[in-house]
């Protein structure tokens, strides 16, 4: 009984490869030998027992049946029902495994079958080369139609979409100018003005960064309105930027002009074409994290990191409620929490956002206009949620308490809807509840914390546990418009400014 084993390494995260392969009818899209294919009797292509009837490019028609499918092990098995080929008792197994030190996938495809001895060499070649090896190549071309290196040692850029730009610029003149968005005073988005500012040459321990992408965060709104006094008008907003080091001051080690870097921290000043800042605040960007991914995830992803791993180390057996589940931090919380195995209930403001939240890993989505606490209790069989991640503010804590399991944890990390109303601490005894009010600066404030947090984030991006969702891009000079959308609750996912 011949056994055929073929395997390869695909330069894509296991979730991405599996998303394609788990569809039993997808081979018509990626396998070069398949002319067309249908699932019989209108069965779903991921229902075990489904039969695919397909025609090879040579005209031969086969029927195969799905025997097992496991989203847990990224594995499926199938057998041949009918084929005009001497392949008897043919059962094949496809299995994917993540390559954890790189964002790649090991793919093994094997089968056992019987066949007359005189046809064995032909059949082995047909299956091994014509089906399995050709399939590896076909899937690669489907994933990377423009061609891309595969395997160790190959250049791997743009793993999360757009290619990283790595174009070192000549050092600017000392004290060169740059365009920036300046808040003239505390107030509405109208206070933001496109202004020419002077970028000082880097002093001791400083570097000048030319931004390629800038992240917009709700904290920028707090800075603009004066709710947080992190900015003294007139001043440049922004706490999250990605770009290329242009100039390095004395005493800086480990960074050179041309290096790709990012940051997510005070002091403000990111809404500018370039800025000079302390080198210690910068994170070097790995080659496989592109600029936009970094700008979309550094601040929001490190926030999700400390909320899920350090403020409340979330476990697979827990239920988490995520408010603003389609928002910038919300989508990353939903993705990551569900990847950790937790049951995630998202709360959103509209049907459109509910669709986003479902696609980001929410098992259930509740509209904020509904009786949220009542729905959460219903969805948890009356038990309530183990943890509620809430950046809504105003009177939301009292509502959170009503949907909490005994000894549950309310994590209040923002106040997008307004200043938090006073909470009677004695009320926490109703559920033996814990309340945390974490500050980003205390969890991602020191270089060591940022290193730990960003590495966890990059690792999660590589493993596909979190995926950037960029809802909107604005030219830098239209930052006021970006703020309006954010405050109107019209935005979904991350918002990026492009200088």
């Amino acid at each position: 009984m011949p056994r055929i084993v073929r395997s390869t390494v695909i330069d894509a995260p296991v979730a991405e490869v599996w998303r394609i392969l788990r569809d039993f009818n997808s081979h018509r899209d990626w396998h070069p030998a398949i002319a067309d294919s249908v699932i019989e009797d209108g069965q779903a292509p991921d229902s075990v027992g489904a039969v695919r009837r397909f025609r090879l490019t040579g005209g031969v028609v086969l029927r195969e049946q799905l025997l097992s499918l496991s989203d847990r092990d990224f594995a499926l098995s199938y057998c041949i029902l009918d084929a005009p080929l001497p392949l008897f008792g043919y059962v094949a197994h496809i299995r994917l495994r993540p390559v954890t030190d790189g964002n790649r996938t090991f793919w093994s495809w094997m089968s056992d079958f019987d066949c007359p001895p005189e046809r064995e060499a032909d059949m082995v070649r047909l299956v091994a080369e014509g089906v399995y090896e050709a399939g590896f190549g076909g899937l690669r071309r489907t994933l990377y139609p423009l061609g891309r290196g595969q395997g160790e040692g190959a250049t791997r850029v743009g793993m999360f979409g757009k290619s990283a730009t790595l174009s070192p610029q000549p050092s600017p003149q000392r004290g060169e100018g740059a365009n920036a968005i300046v808040a003239r005073a505390y107030g509405p988005p109208d206070v933001l003005q496109w202004t020419r500012v002077l970028v000082p040459p880097p002093g001791f321990g400083e570097v000048t960064v030319r931004h390629t992408a800038i992240g917009v965060n709700f904290i920028d709104v707090y800075c603009r309105t004066g709710y947080f006094r992190l900015l003294q008008p007139p001043g440049v907003l922004g706490m999250e930027g990605v770009g290329v080091v242009e100039d390095v001051g004395p005493g800086v080690t480990g960074l050179s002009p041309g290096d790709r870097v990012g940051y997510a921290c005070a002091p403000v000043g990111a809404y500018a074409e370039r800025r000079t800042m302390p080198a210690a605040l910068l994170v070097s960007l790995p080659d496989d994290i592109d600029d936009e991914t970094a700008a979309a995830t550094l601040l929001k992803g490190m926030t999700a990191e400390f909320l899920l791993h350090r403020v409340h180390p979330l476990t697979a057996s827990e239920t988490a409620v995520v408010h603003a589940a389609a928002g910038g931090v919300g989508v990353l919380l939903c993705q990551w929490a569900s990847a950790l195995g937790a049951l995630v209930i998202g709360v959103v403001g509209s049907e459109a956002k509910a669709r986003v939240a479902r696609a980001q890993g929410c098992a259930h989505v509740v509209l904020a206009s509904d009786d949220v606490a009542g729905r959460v209790l219903e969805l948890t069989g009356g038990r309530g949620a183990d943890v509620v991640y809430d950046a809504v503010g105003r009177d939301s804590l009292a509502r959170d308490l009503a949907m909490l399991a005994l000894c549950g944890h309310i994590v209040s990390y923002g106040q997008a809807g307004g200043h938090l109303e006073p909470l009677d601490a004695a009320a926490l005894a109703e559920r033996s509840a814990r309340l945390s009010r974490p500050n980003f600066g205390h969890y991602a404030g020191t270089p060591a914390q940022v290193r730990l947090s960003s590495q966890r984030l990059f690792d999660a991006l590589r493993r596909g546990l979190v995926r950037p969702l960029v809802g909107a891009r604005f030219p830098l000079r239209e930052a006021a418009q970006a703020h309006r959308r954010l405050e109107d609750r019209a935005s979904v996912g991350a918002t990026i400014l492009v200088p």
């Binding site: 084993v5 390869t8 390494v9 390559v99 030190d101 093994s108 395997g151 791993h309």
Partner: protein
């Protein structure tokens, strides 16, 4: 139960890497952290049940018992009998799979264990990155130089 999983691709054929890692007494030859190792009672290193007693470069001593060794599918499992890690019920499996479209192999190392509450993250990091990835990196470096 805490689960740790680390995997990589090594630029050498599976049988060549297997020849290095199947030696249950061979940790000092291919890991960056092991100073010396012996098999207790002078048993052969591939006898199921053999106990390796090894000392880390930082001085810690571990005793591990071979539970399974398969030359057919290039894998072995072992448990920790004694260690300074603070883990219990620790069982790890190391497995190689050939990558047939190149002279490479896919290496997986996984472990399951129990530990004191609150130490899960730290121990996962230590075992998954410090031990498994650290040893993989040495193997990859060996393959690169070969």
């Amino acid at each position: 139960m805490v689960k740790v999983y680390t995997s990589t691709v090594i630029d050498a054929p599976a049988e060549q890497v297997w020849a290095i890692v199947r030696d249950f007494n061979g940790l000092p030859n291919w890991t960056p952290f092991c100073a010396e190792s012996r098999i207790e009672g002078g048993e052969p290193a591939d006898r199921i049940g053999a106990v390796r007693n090894f000392r880390l470069k930082d001085g810690g001593v571990l005793r591990e018992k071979l539970l399974m060794l398969s030359d057919y599918d290039y894998q072995c499992s072992y448990s920790i009998l004694e260690s300074p890690l603070g883990v219990t019920d620790y069982v790890a499996t190391l497995k190689l799979s050939p990558v047939t479209d190149g002279d490479r192999c896919f290496a997986e190392w996984s472990a399951e264990f129990n530990c004191a509450a609150g130490r899960e993250g730290e121990l996962s990091q230590l075992i998954g990155q410090g031990v498994f990835q650290g040893a993989f990196d040495t193997l990859k470096e060996k393959a690169r130089r070969a």
